[in-house]
């Protein structure tokens, strides 16, 4: 076996894996532009019919906008809470910081169904179910770990002497944070925000247990899948794929911009 053959074989293997990962998503696109009621392949005629239903039908467009609204609220809360606690864990040497970090990322490992069940039973007693506030805070629990992971990693890589220099030159702690630390963390915060938004926007399990009659987009899709196969689901799914592509793009651009800044700073000084 020459190395060249090995390299070609690995390349072919990689192509097959990417095909397996992507073809169901690519296959979705023609189906969503299908005219007929039945999702058969190949589509008999093309139309924007199901997109029209998605954006005009009250139950579909309502669910979509509600999911976006909840996602934005969750993102704002997660970025604020997550960045603050990352600072406490990495910069301020809080006693028990390791334990706090462990607790903060626990929702990434604990099965969603366990978190959902606990919330459901507790909030049923407290009569907190079917409330938008509860749903937003519940989503924040599973969204905030992403912000903490990304931002605390960036903080660890950030050179503390720059902040100290700002302090020595007379900036107060608040000014040096705003003018030095925060700009350097911006790419990480933006990437964390994207992760947090999709943790909320894509969530089904927690919503299924605590939302009651509040119908988010994933819940709307879920309820539909258990009844009949409405082709609007295909259009909704396509919109969700497109949104995650945009989110991934923003996070990647932020990340590579952050890397580039780090590199130029290193070469400059």
């Amino acid at each position: 076996m020459s190395p060249r053959i090995v390299r070609i074989a690995l390349g072919l293997w990689f192509c097959a894996v990417v095909f397996f990962l992507l073809f169901p998503l690519v296959f979705l696109i023609p189906l969503s532009f299908n005219e007929s009621e039945i999702l058969s392949f190949p589509p008999s005629a093309w139309s924007l019919r199901w997109y029209r239903v998605l954006f005009t039908d009250a139950s579909w467009s309502g669910a979509l906008w509600l999911s976006v609204k909840i996602g934005v609220l969750v993102t704002i809360l997660s970025v604020a809470i997550g960045t603050a606690s990352a600072l406490a864990i990495v910069r301020h040497r809080l006693p028990g910081a390791g334990l706090l970090y462990g607790l903060a990322i626990a929702p990434l490992i604990v099965p969603g169904i366990v978190i959902a069940l606990g919330m459901f039973m507790l909030f049923a007693r407290l009569k907190w179910l079917e409330s938008l506030t509860t749903l937003v805070l519940a989503h924040t629990v599973v969204a905030v770990p992403y912000v903490i992971v990304v931002v605390s990693a960036a903080l660890r890589n950030l050179d503390e002497t720059i902040e100290r220099a700002a302090r020595v030159l007379g900036a107060g702690p608040w000014r040096s944070f705003l003018l030095v630390t925060l700009p350097a963390l911006r790419p990480a915060i933006l990437a964390g925000a994207m992760f947090a938004f999709f943790a909320s926007f894509d969530d089904l399990i927690i919503t299924l247990f605590v939302s009651g009659a509040i119908e988010t987009l994933p819940l709307r899709i879920w309820n539909d899948l258990n009844l009949r196969l409405d082709p609007t689901v295909a259009a909704a799914a396509c919109v969700m794929v497109a949104m995650s592509m945009v989110g991934l793009g923003i996070a990647e651009i932020a990340r590579s911009a952050g890397l580039r800044r780090l590199r130029t700073e290193q070469t400059d000084g």
Binding site: L10, V17, F20, L21, I81, G118
Partner: protein, 278 residues
């Protein structure tokens, strides 16, 4: 003026408050219902012991998690090798191809599989068009469907974790083995593979832990005959209204997860761990 020692606790306070009410207390509630619920202490445990369904579903969940983990590692390892072997400037493009499905909602990905595997789906249409079968075959609601769905969802996690470890390796060691006369196969088997072992173990445990809690994919692609623990918990809550049984099962699921995490932390140094988790 704020005292310096107060800054860190104040920064962490919102997180602690949120997690206390929305994470820790709900967990205590599960313990309370399962051990001190209306049906008396140990009612949850005795339900677990006496339920014939639980034992079967629990074993099925473990088996499913194990086989999905193994398939992901076998499929993912060569793909990760390929990405790690590319020059750093080109790696981003290949990683993006893996990241895109990774970023897409699990519900959407599962739904697309139900369209591919259904009676009128792409697979049946292709098989009939190719003349391999004349009648639509049943693919949906089989173990095959659940495996396909779960592997597609978890494979990116496997690849990203493995690439993270592989790109940190010292490629010079493999080159040294080759220069010293080892065949490519020997160099791979005795040098490269052992060096990637921490990554393999980390990926395996991560995949196993994540597979244990799967709910959407088994529900949509497996149907009632291929339930996991998560589906059974949902069934007990939403249809049987038996919160004690649901809580007891949640504790078993959690205990299994914690055991796997403990094993993982014991086997692998921390820095290799969360690199792949999104």
């Amino acid at each position: 003026m704020l005292r310096k020692s107060m800054v860190a606790p104040l920064l962490a306070a919102p997180l602690l408050l949120l997690f206390a009410i929305f994470f820790v207390v709900p967990f205590i509630e599960i313990m309370r219902v399962s051990f001190a619920g209306k049906s008396g202490a140990w009612a949850g445990v005795s339900w677990l012991m006496s339920s014939p369904v639980f034992a079967v579903v629990f074993m099925n969940t473990l088996k499913l998690a194990l086989s999905v983990t193994l398939i992901c590692l076998v499929l993912g390892y060569p793909a990760a090798c390929f990405i790690a072997g590319q020059p750093a400037s080109r790696r981003g493009i290949y990683l993006a191809l893996v990241l895109l499905p990774f970023w897409t909602s699990v519900l959407v990905r599962t739904y697309t599989w139900s369209l591919v595997l259904g009676r009128e789906g792409l697979l049946n249409a292709s098989l009939i068009w190719l003349g391999i079968t004349s009648e639509p075959q049943r693919f949906l609601f089989t173990p095959l469907a659940v495996h396909l769905g779960m592997v597609q969802i978890l494979l990116p996690v496997a690849i990203l974790t493995l690439v993270g470890v592989m790109t940190e390796l010292d490629a010079g060691l493999v080159r040294a083995a080759r220069v010293l006369g080892a065949s490519p196969w020997r160099a791979f088997w005795h040098v490269y593979l052992p060096m990637t072992k921490p990554g393999i173990v980390a990926a395996a445990m991560l995949l196993f832990i994540l597979s244990l809690g799967f709910y959407i994919t088994p529900a949509l692609l497996g149907g009632p005959r291929h339930r996991t623990i998560a589906n059974l918990i949902d069934l007990q809550v939403h249809q049987m209204n038996d919160w004690t049984a649901a809580s007891a099962m949640a504790l078993v699921l959690l205990a299994t997860t914690i055991a796997a995490v403990a094993l993982l932390r014991w086997l692998v140094p921390e820095r290799n761990l969360y690199g792949g988790a999104r």
